[in-house]
């Protein structure tokens, strides 16, 4: 029997106040990812609202802690990859 979600603990967030919002979002995402996304179902994203709430909390924590994430390019160091 394969249990794709809800069987594992949720890990800590960088914003201590965001734990509950992260838990809600992670559960929603894990379900959507396994049951819809990987199966090619391109319906509306059911997690957009929980994601928005979680993000507003976590982004605030990132600013408060001065974590240098601004301006970091997506897949950033890929271009510096040395020749193998």
């Amino acid at each position: 029997m394969f249990y794709p979600y809800n069987t594992l603990q949720i890990w800590d967030t960088v914003g201590e106040a965001c734990t509950e919002l992260k838990r809600e979002y992670d559960q929603c995402f894990n379900r959507w990812f396994a049951e819809k996304f990987l199966k090619g179902d391109r319906g509306e994203d059911p997690c957009s609202e929980t994601f928005r709430k979680y993000q507003s909390c976590v982004q605030k924590a990132i600013k408060e802690k001065d974590i240098p994430v601004d301006g970091v390019e997506f897949m950033g160091p890929n271009k510096d990859k040395p020749e193998s």
């Binding site: 029997m1 394969f2 249990y3 794709p4 979600y5 069987t7 594992l8 603990q9 890990w11 800590d12 967030t13 960088v14 914003g15 965001c18 992260k22 979002y25 992670d26 995402f29 894990n30 990812f33 396994a34 996304f37 990987l38 090619g40 391109r42 994203d45 994601f51 979680y54 993000q55 976590v58 982004q59 990132i62 974590i67 240098p68 994430v69 970091v72 997506f74 897949m75 950033g76 160091p77 890929n78 510096d80 990859k81 040395p82 193998s84």
Partner: protein, 209 residues
């Protein structure tokens, strides 16, 4: 100066299950060094790929000889960015991980997950890492340290992955509590030994002043 490393691994699980486990792999008994885990960006692209950015805080103590060259506040925890692209059409997942603190020792890892061509129930991992440092005169020593740590982490990552996959499949993970306890004790002992060495070398230095 850049040091390059590459390797391959095999997980005896389907690509779908590996991807599902990827988002749920913290915490596991092999990830004691991971303190926090957050998604800070996520989007489905027009080509139906899922792109995500994960921010991790890791406990990352550099050895005493190296800490002297790193800013004080950076010595105990490090922020790591992990970007990923999941393409369910091509059935590939690519992750790129690098540290945004400790910038003088930059460790970048790239892992590519795809279905094994000989057995569609298995997943192949191709990993690459490159380590660069900009501390004049010490580059080589720091890179060697980075590479050694990277190799230990790879083993832990794989064990962690296997643990999470086993748990998801309803099996009892092979790592017992006793094993975890022994490992913890060993780590603590090792940390104490490092500390003692550090104190001894400081005492020795003082004698010559």
């Amino acid at each position: 100066m850049v040091k390059y490393f590459s390797g391959a691994d095999l997980l005896k699980t389907t690509w779908d299950q590996v991807c599902i486990a990827f988002w749920q792999r913290y915490p596991n008994p092999y990830s004691n060094h991971v303190l926090t885990e957050d998604i800070i960006f996520r989007e489905v692209t027009p080509t139906n790929c899922l792109i995500s950015r994960r921010l991790l805080t890791k406990f990352s103590r550099a050895p005493a000889w190296m800490e002297r060259y790193l800013p004080k506040h950076m010595s105990s925890s490090a922020y790591i960015i992990e970007d990923s692209i999941v393409d369910p059409q091509k059935r590939t997942m690519t992750t790129m991980t690098w540290n945004i603190t400790h910038a003088r020792l930059m460790v970048t890892r790239c892992v590519d997950y795809r279905t094994n061509p000989d057995n569609s129930n298995w997943t192949e991992l191709k990993r690459e890492a490159w380590i660069s440092s900009r501390v004049f005169g010490l580059s080589r020593a720091i890179q060697e340290f980075g590479l050694a740590r990277f190799k230990t982490r790879v083993t832990k990552t794989m064990k962690g992955f296997e643990y999470v996959l086993a748990k998801m499949q309803g099996e009892t993970p092979t790592k017992t509590l006793a094993e975890t306890a022994t490992e913890r004790a060993r780590e603590t002992a090792l940390a104490a030994k490092e500390k003692a060495k550090d104190l001894a070398s400081q005492a020795q230095k003082k004698q010559y002043v």
